[in-house]
Symmetry: C2
Subunit: 356 residues, 2 copies
């Protein structure tokens, strides 16, 4: 079994801690370790570092290598540019197939929070068993706890069977991010799970599926495949990538395929997609505050403060997000942290690129 | 005419910009100049620097000398410790009387905001004329614009006459800080003015008044007087000051004296006693924000941001005070900036003295 960790993205939603050169998975906002370090740590009981591949962009490769010294350098695959998840996964699948034609690969995002790592590995092992025959595309769904409109949903169909004691379902339909009302209906019906973006399949199965549903992409990947491991690899990647369709594996493959199976993940999951989400998933003091670093508060409630080298002092405020860095400071209403993106756009528009 | 500027105080209310070593009057929070620099600049059309005395504590003398290079070093009087305004003014009065037994002296706080400097000097000249005969203690009242409970009030009595075209009133009563209801009544009656803490009198007149109403203080000052300008000056100050009563000139003299006159000041005055007050007196952008330094905002209203070397970015917030410094940052609800004092007390209690 191989693990493919997708580590792309600009991570503007965690500005000012996340920057062009430091997307979310490279930050230590959840613990002393960075998020990708935690992601890798969590997998080591299952696979050795040599079986972990990381797909990223040129900007972040050096920092990834620094943070993950046990991952062999050749396991860090560099896309010339981000083209969404389908090309990224396709590239990794060809890479894995060359190493081991019968290999199962698990595709995992770099930047998710999982609180029960043991259960996570149980489910991953079961998914690998379900995927091993090569007939199915297996995905891991998350039992929804709220009518989230920021996630895609999978509708469970018939129970297909079990793998290592975990139930495996057929997928009746794949739904894109719903509106609030639809999300509430999904939650009420009980047969919908969140699409976690975690997939398990054989390299051959996903390459076949791309061939069936995304033939343009398959053609490009076939050109890349012939160059993988040769002197021409970089040149061909540079040449082919700009012409690949920029499309997600959800939209491009999973919504169309009829051989999708799903396992339910109950291992305490969050994609921690914003400062708001970080407050949500973090342990709070009796006033509802999450305080990291050197912080002094009086009369302050339900706020998230991420301090660094400086003292951050709050008085008489509530529902705030305050994030300090060496050169920039964010103060944002909690519950409104999608506005961070607005700020980043504003800085870009005003040419304040040193802060991006 | 001499000017005596009272430059004491810890200035905790402007934390984190104000510190033990940098009280409010040493800060450049109103303009490019520090507040005491503005205070002195405003007086220079009236008196040369040699006629300006500054009374301060040991901690701030060097910084004052640095900020005010035109003021002769011997004009900076150092109190061994703060004992409220009556000893401070008494010390200065003895100093002035030695220089010129018939001199008029104006006593001014170091840290007030005055928007119409020309009118201010008109009123000061008129007050000096009213004080020159030496029969009266003259004070400058401010026409109240709101039922402030943070100021003392003077009740105007009969009109005494005019000086340089300015009306001069007798004072019927001196009122300490009133409650809200009383302040509203004062405002409605129209014959009350705020006590600005600005006084004009001959040195002899205030020394006489201290002799009459504060004999203990007068005795201590008499001992100091014999040592002023001698080698013993510092030693005697150190010896006498701890035994002086710590009392304000308002409570100790002005409330008791029956020879107080008042002129109405209409020169745009504020004591700028807090971050809240700084927002109040500052020009605002169309969203009601006062933004100083490198600041980016989106969806932000009625807030005060004082940035320094770092970018401060606000999103989706209102009624906030955000003040950045090199080593500490304040985020406080606007309208609640008395809590800054709470924070300073908290830091002191927790031993975080490096931030005080």
């Amino acid at each position: 079994m191989y693990i493919v960790i997708m580590a792309g993205g600009r991570g503007t939603r965690f500005w000012p801690r996340s920057r062009d050169r430091k997307p979310k998975h490279l930050l230590d906002i959840l613990s002393e370790r960075t998020i990708i370090q935690e992601t890798v740590d969590r997998l080591l009981p299952l696979v050795p570092p040599e079986r972990i591949l990381i797909v990223t962009g040129r900007t972040h490769a050096a920092e990834l290598a620094r943070q993950l010294p046990d991952i062999p350098a050749e396991n860090i695959l560099i896309e010339p540019m981000g083209r969404n998840t389908a090309p990224c996964i396709g590239l990794a699948a060809h890479f894995v197939r060359r190493l081991d034609p019968g290999a199962v690969m698990a595709v995992l995002p770099a930047d998710h929070l999982i609180t029960d790592g043991g259960r996570f590995l149980d489910v991953l092992r079961a998914a690998a068993e379900a995927a091993a025959p090569g007939h199915h595309l297996v995905t891991i769904g998350i039992n929804p706890t709220a009518p989230e409109t920021g996630y895609g949903y999978l509708e469970l169909g018939e129970e297909e069977g079990t793998a290592r004691g975990e139930k495996v379902w057929q997928v009746r339909s794949v739904r894109e991010k719903p509106d609030r009302e639809t999300a509430q209906a999904f939650l009420a019906e009980g047969c919908y799970v969140w699409n976690s973006g975690m997939f398990v399949w054989t390299a051959a199965a996903i390459i076949d599926a791309i061939g069936q549903w995304l033939p343009d992409l398959a053609g490009g990947l076939a050109r890349i495949d012939t160059a993988l491991g040769t002197d021409r690899e970089n040149a061909v990647l540079e040449d082919v990538y700009p012409g690949l369709p920029s499309i997600s594996v959800d939209y491009g493959v999973m919504e169309k395929a009829d051989n999708v199976l799903v396992l339910r993940g109950d291992f305490g999951w969050s994609d921690v997609g914003s400062w708001d989400a970080l407050w949500e998933v973090s342990p709070k003091d009796p006033s509802g505050n999450v305080l990291k670093g050197s912080v002094a508060v009086t009369g302050t409630r339900n706020s998230l403060v991420v301090a660094r080298d400086r003292l951050v002092a709050l008085a008489g405020v509530e529902d705030l997000i305050v994030v300090d860095t060496e050169d920039a400071l964010l103060v944002c209403r909690r519950g409104d942290s999608q506005r961070v993106k607005e700020l980043v756009d504003l800085l870009e528009k005003e040419g304040l690129t040193q802060y991006l």
